[in-house]
């Protein structure tokens, strides 16, 4: 992607974000027919499940059994369910790690890929492979790499003199290990977003800073970082949403184990719905889970609005 394309692109997505969050009156009825088919479809696959989920969550309902109206019983049951509460806490822990690590590494990677060097396009292609690769496939490879006796990771650790780890086989290290995979996978997305931000930076502040003899760190700290901050916030919002919803990697590598040590809300939900077929209770979990995601995204969106640079 040329610098110019990146510039156009990020400005555009910026404008789009602002208008989506700010809102503009819908006009131009003649175009309604263009949008209608997609609108009907999205309504069908989004609105129907929501209404139905709300309906189910108010019922005592196991698949293949009769259902009965239960009012708010399922929600009350959630309040007293320790396994659910641990899953919620674990999700926040997992998400915090899985947001911060890719943000830091992605910013560093963006600073590197922002410079010109030979084979940059190809190497950038290699760098983004993890996020395009099939999660189940890479999850399986990581599972093999995590093997305590025969895995290549412990071989690498011990060969440089570090103690071997139990990785995903120990309740204490399972979440950081899974976050490591998630970081490996999603650092490229943060890199791309920040790279778009870097491409849109003006050059004048750097020129005058250079004249004033500012150090590289001072320039990053006082010029680059503040200007890129809005893009970092976009990356943080996207990462938060994805980290909270993370499923494939956890399901494939640890199945929520050992025990329930890596059972996040999504895994808990899967278990309730498709192992216990307790769809009434699972629907209440969905409702709470969705409220959590919306709250987190809105909080970050609010923070982002406040860091908006005057553009």
């Amino acid at each position: 992607m040329s610098a110019q394309a990146a510039l156009v692109d990020t400005r555009r997505s910026h404008a789009l974000w602002r208008r989506v969050s700010g809102g503009a009156a819908a006009r131009g009825r003649p175009y309604a027919l263009f949008v209608l088919p997609a609108l009907v479809l999205m309504a069908a696959v989004i609105v129907f499940p929501w209404l139905f989920t709300g309906f189910m969550s108010l019922h005592e309902w196991k698949l293949s059994q009769a259902r009965s109206f239960a009012g708010l019983d399922n929600y009350l049951r959630l309040l007293g369910d320790e396994r659910f509460q641990w899953a919620a806490l674990r999700t926040l822990y997992y998400a915090a790690l899985a947001v911060v690590a890719p943000l830091v590494l992605g910013t560093v990677a963006a600073l590197i890929f922002h410079r010109r060097f030979p084979f940059r396009g190809f190497l950038r292609g290699v760098f983004i492979l993890p996020m395009m690769a099939t999660p189940v496939a890479v999850g399986l490879v990581w599972t093999m790499m995590f093997h305590p006796q025969l895995g290549v990771l412990n071989y690498l650790l011990t060969s440089i003199g570090l103690p071997a780890s139990l990785w995903v086989y120990d309740p204490g290290t399972v979440i950081p290990s899974l976050v490591m995979v998630e970081t490996w996978q999603w650092t490229p997305l943060v890199m791309l977003i920040v790279l778009g931000g870097l491409a849109a930076l003006p050059t004048e502040p750097y020129e005058s800073a250079q004249l004033d003899g500012a150090s590289a760190w001072a320039m990053f700290r006082h010029i680059t970082f503040p200007l890129v901050l809005p893009f970092l916030m976009v990356a943080a919002i996207i990462r938060t949403i994805d980290a909270v919803k993370s499923f494939d990697i956890i399901f494939v590598i640890s199945q929520g184990g050992p025990g329930t040590a890596s059972e996040t809300l999504n895994l808990f939900l899967y278990l309730q719905a498709f192992a216990f077929y307790d769809v009434g209770y699972a629907s209440a979990v969905v409702a709470v889970f969705f409220a959590l995601i919306v709250t987190l995204s809105l909080t970050l969106l609010y923070l982002r609005q406040r860091t908006q640079w005057s553009a």
Binding site: A24, I112, L129, L140, L192, F247, Y270, F290
Partner: protein, 281 residues
């Protein structure tokens, strides 16, 4: 004087070496995992569980790949994946490209919020109601439920990328056509659509990849006969015995098309992804 110049050159060289090293450190985790995957898939079982690990296979073999295709109807799963992802992508283009055009032209960004909501909602939360619905309709055991649920991934990607793309298209030509008496549909079909071809390619690639990679819909909705590739690979995993070779081979078969596609069209992918930072999931 000479000494100063030499020192300066040395420092520049050191700086360059340091930068090259930084690049290497950045890309090596990505590179290593995929090379290790290839290595595992080409080695015999003895080499795969050897300790210390064998990095480069002594006698590379394709037995693991043969085993995957013999032990399970892997060919059929490939066809399943192609049908599900192909139909979901084509259908998403058919309704998503006009929708993106309509939203961009009418500046109806409130409708774009619907796309964002689809992006935020966990896939599992669609699955419970849809699972019950598909059972009720008697569609379980066919590929239909998979195609329909994959639209949840492909349609938002296509709409979102196309909104961004149509916004950057200059409206002059269409306006001229409208003044000459063309209908809105004709202006779209004969003027905007051909110009938007690059955007459509980006949208199609991204929709295809994220639908291809999807696991969660398949794991819930697919039966033995209707598995898509990610689900089939997951089922190769056996906990009783370690059979790493076939597992890595199966994983490679699933993800190789995506990896190759990514390398070749990385520039297009980057343009599409930065336009709003979208992905399925």
């Amino acid at each position: 004087m000479v000494g100063v110049r030499a020192r300066r050159r040395l420092r520049r060289l050191a700086g360059r070496a340091g930068f090259a090293f930084a690049v290497l450190v950045m890309i090596s985790p990505a590179l290593m995992v995929f090379l290790w995957m290839i290595s595992l898939s080409l080695k015999t079982e003895i080499e795969n569980i050897a300790y210390p690990p064998v990095f480069v296979p002594e006698t590379p073999t394709l037995d693991n790949f043969r085993h995957v295709f013999e032990a399970s109807p892997f060919g059929r799963y490939i066809v399943n994946s192609l049908i599900v992802t192909g139909s979901a992508t084509l259908f998403a283009l058919a309704i998503g490209v006009p929708a993106g055009y309509g939203i961009a032209k009418a500046k109806a960004y409130r409708l774009a919020v619907l796309v964002l909501i689809a992006r935020i909602t966990p896939n599992l939360s669609y699955l419970i109601p849809l699972f019950i619905l598909f059972q009720f309709l008697g569609l379980t055991g066919t590929l239909w439920p998979l195609v329909m649920t994959h639209l949840v991934i492909t349609v938002p990607i296509v709409v979102w990328v196309m909104i961004g793309f149509f916004e950057t298209l200059h409206p002059d030509l269409e306006e001229a056509a409208l003044i000459d008496g063309a209908t809105l549909w004709q202006a779209f079909r004969y003027i905007a659509l051909p110009l938007a071809r690059p955007g459509i390619v980006v949208a199609a690639i991204l929709a295809f990849i994220f639908s291809w990679n999807n696991f969660i819909f398949g794991v819930v909705l697919a039966g033995r006969e209707t598995r898509t590739l990610p689900v089939a690979v997951y089922n190769v995993l056996t906990f009783e015995q370690i059979s790493w070779g076939p597992l890595a081979a199966a994983a490679l078969v699933v993800t190789l098309p995506v990896l190759i596609l990514t390398i070749f069209v990385q520039r297009e992918i980057l343009t599409g992804l930065t336009a709003g930072g979208i992905k399925g999931g």
